[in-house]
Symmetry: C4
Subunit: 345 residues, 4 copies
């Protein structure tokens, strides 16, 4: 790499911006309303400080862990997000390949440009499918069946989007770009009701979904102990603590700040994941210290795609995993199992 | 609307400034002294974070509530303020029409440019009258009788202005503009004492006022538990927690910070309203979470008037009500009754 | 007054700067080292918020109080400071006249340009003398006897200057100006030891001073409960909580933050005064709420002198007293006796 | 000195920058990753405020203390750091001479440009040797034996560098400079394994080191109570609370914030030192108040070297010691023994 090679995920963000159409940039970076939660997602990490242990044998660092029982190389997952195809012709297929090479899970969005079948065919690692439920259950069921058939290992049900988030920043410019259609949704039965991302979903839908598939289900978007307890009671396998990258309701609690109450309420019953604001290996370390099994990253994957396609995603993942290994070494926690609550002050 | 159409209340503020005479702008935006309380009114909202609930059926959102028993479309009221006539020829009549169309209450200021009779005639929704008590009770009584005759549903007695607030910002420029006379005060018996906004009012005056009218009385400007308890003991129907938009005494507590102690002291006995710094639907949600029955908005109404007259006010009200509905949907509280203390972290 | 007339003490500061020699400006505004305590003295006031009471009869506001038993028009005193003569030919005499006209106490510095006899002759109100003890007790005693003879009502013993404070800002430029000699010190017996402001003083010196004069003694520069308790045990009549305007040791606690522990430790035994950072009437209100009998103001008096001589000082004092009266009215505390701990949140 | 003479350590930093090669500057000022810990090391000091005592006899101030039983003129030590030879031809020899003249301890880095024998020959005061353990114990032992032979009084074992810290700032430019070789390491047996600063060290290594030398051992880089308790159990003589100047793992706790828990856990068993962010005499005072026996300073020594060679180091040390004496006088603690927990609020 040259001297100008990106050293960290912030470098990727800076490199990506001039390479992107302004409307695409705005849509991706945008948060809801005044973007207070976007900023808080980062600030909340920075308020936490690390208590490193010394004189531990850290000659070998192992970031490997298991997510829903499956071995992965690092406690990092690709968050479901759109826009892959806007930034790279191969779209989600490129991202899936990079994730697989990194030994981590790719979460494919249900509204992907490429079909889940294509993504699964391209993938060389584990795949989860993110799902927005449709008003018509047959459409949702069709998507579940396709995910099962494609070999997806889990369904990530997004529960924080009963309405499509309003991002004031991008509302001013989003129509300046000709967004591609979702190829994946085209493979479903035609809708019978007007629909857009953001249809209400309730616990009854969760129960229905549990009843129609043997795939483990994770609920993405939980931010409270109350909902975490309900999730456990409804028997889901996982919770993703997330505020949708600050893109749904501005002013909600930073996801890392919400993590402890979710862990306390449901950590004994299902796996807890953390999504939102992760940019450094030390952020991953902090999230795991507070009880997360792994983290999801969203926007940085898109910066990687924009800068260098699948190689950019691979580099973004490598940087983050290496930073985590480095943070584990310098905090005296050589394995994921060594990371406990005492890591964070 | 064009791409440049205002998306939120801050946009209205930005659009309004160049349309206004600088002295008018200064007088309206000004706060007392160093404007610390003006800033705190906003910062205090931003310090509160929202705990959204998921998987609730939010297919239908209902912002309707009751204020003093009367049904309204949203828990938002027009705060009493001057300057309507400076910004729009129809003055308070225009605002009253916009409020009525939005299904909410307009609080007419006692020093309005147009008479309360004119405003009532123009209004198509419920009207409250704000009152500054005069040194001469017959003048105050005359105003009350006129309000009763005009069909006003409540008297909002301003209690935080025993002196006229000193706004250093506007003291430098307020004489650069030829302010219109109050047409409403012209309809009263002539004053026998020199008077200006800011005559002292005491609890004896509250009792007197209660004795001469059957209209419910709200005290606007209460910021402490002690005064809230006294208000309840004196039998008023409502309290508006307010620091007059930071325009009276600089350094007083932000109104949203003062709300909890007022609710604790008097919330079982009368309705509590919140005024000061409300700019987003999430602010309304937070205020209701902390025990307010509804909020009042002041300056944003004036921005709306300045930008587009009554249509501007209507749009400001629509934006805020829509943002509230959106916030209710995304926080899993489909009705006003669902908004409780657990909404705020 | 014209539109450009100063409205508040910050205006006086802004007007004064261009009228002053840069070295004089630097010396006066300078704080020790990084000026953290200078800034904290202000920030600590701004962190305190006021809980105003409403519906109290505030038709008449009375700022009058007593300091060491003597009636004064307002709980404001002129802090001892140098540089009067640099800014105004009449020096401390001018300040004393302005203080007297305002009905408040002037504290003359022992190192004044004009003699204490001249100041007393010019004064039309009560005078206190600030004292730095000399290594030679006969010199100190001579000063005390002169203060007694001149009619001073109290001795303010500065106890926080066993060394002369290092102000990095002004060390770079203070030699650019030809500072006048102290006329007052010239009237003392010649020193036998090399001396400068900053000779160590101990509790034994306090006892000696108490033994040689019947004048009440205040200790200026106390910031801890421990020293406050000792002050009470040694029988002094007053304590001035002060960090010397942030000019002695950088990083010490803001004076308003130190006030409560001093009041708790000694408030039942002697009068507690607050010095440092007072710029607004609300600052005076806050200090009194936390237990101060009155406040001292230093630099703003010098701004007044620089801008308009004695008339400037008079205006500075009038602005501050009027702001206090205004703050008392708007917080529902019409007399000084009404100001208690509940004023501050 | 002229008017432009540096008054404080920040002045030295400002003067040093233009005198240095940009790559050298970057390497020295750099912290890990986002440099959050670098900034926190300073902010954490500024958050602590001092409670000064008055009326204590401070006519004589004595900063003398003992470190590991040896008398020193002030509780200040030269932290081990590289780059001396880049900034001054005499390298560590120059620094050692300045330290000796100041009556304080120099900690020589094991990777020094000049050999420890040369440094010891040049030194006129006590010398400690900092040690990174090598993978081959014979190399480490050779260094220890040389330190013993050279008369070093203690071994400072760096324990927070099992990896070499990644400093994003300097990674972009560090290859622009031709860094000199370490002359000291050249005197060791040749390495048998590839090695760089950052080999893992464990408690077993500490025990081994204790077993092969009678020199007292200090562990540098401890930040937690857990490790402090282990250090005491393993019988080391001292702990240096340090985050390596924010250069190892970004986001770890500021060293002054970590100090209290280390003192509580091990202060009765060994001496605790504080390293990181010390720039002012008041910082030294605060560290001692929280239980440190002395502080180490790193980067400011390099600024002194860059500006004026050994005379610059001497001046940096004199400024800091004088500031400490001044702070002791103005806080009423004339001796080191008088500095206790009550100094800090």
């Amino acid at each position: 790499m040259t001297a100008a090679a990106p050293l960290n995920l912030f470098d990727y963000e800076a490199l990506a911006q001039p390479l992107m159409h302004p409307a695409v940039w705005d849509v991706i970076v945008a948060g809801a309303a005044d973007e207070i939660t976007v900023a808080e997602n980062r600030r909340a990490f920075d308020r936490l400080t690390i208590r490193p242990r010394m004189l531990v044998d850290v000659s070998a660092i192992d970031t490997a862990t298991r997510v829903l029982g499956a071995p992965v190389a690092a406690p990092i997952l690709i968050a479901p997000s759109g826009y892959h195809a806007v930034l790279c012709p191969e779209g989600e297929c490129a991202t899936a390949q990079a994730a697989g090479r990194a030994g981590i899970v790719m979460t494919a969005p249900s509204g992907s440009h490429r079909t889940i079948e294509d993504i699964a065919a391209a993938a060389i690692g584990p795949l989860w499918l993110q799902l927005y439920l449709f008003p018509e259950r047959e459409r949702s069921l069709a998507m579940v069946r396709r995910a099962e058939a494609a070999g997806c290992l889990a369904i990530v049900l997004t529960v924080d989007a009963p309405r499509f988030g309003r991002k004031d920043r991008s509302l001013r410019s989003e129509n300046d770009f000709d967004w591609p259609e979702s190829g994946n949704l085209a493979g479903l039965p035609p809708p019978t009701l007007p629909w857009f991302r953001g249809a209400p979903v309730t616990w009854a839908d969760v129960d229905w979904l549990s009843g129609v598939t043997r795939l483990p289900i994770l609920l993405k978007g939980i931010l409270t102990a109350e909902d975490a307890a309900l999730a456990a009671a409804h028997g889901v396998e996982g919770i993703v603590v997330s505020n949708h990258g600050g893109r749904q309701l501005d002013g909600v609690t930073a996801s890392i700040d919400a993590l402890p109450e979710v862990v306390a309420a449901a950590g004994d019953h299902c796996e807890i994941y953390l999504d939102g604001g992760v940019r450094r290996g030390t952020d991953v370390l902090k999230a795991l210290a507070l009880g997360a099994r792994a983290v999801m990253i969203g926007r940085p994957v898109l910066w990687g795609l924009a800068v260098a396609g699948p190689a950019g995603v691979a580099d973004v993942l490598a940087i983050l995993a290496n930073e985590l290994a480095f943070a584990m070494a310098l905090s005296g926690r050589p394995t994921i199992a060594d990371i406990d609550r005492t890591v964070v002050r």
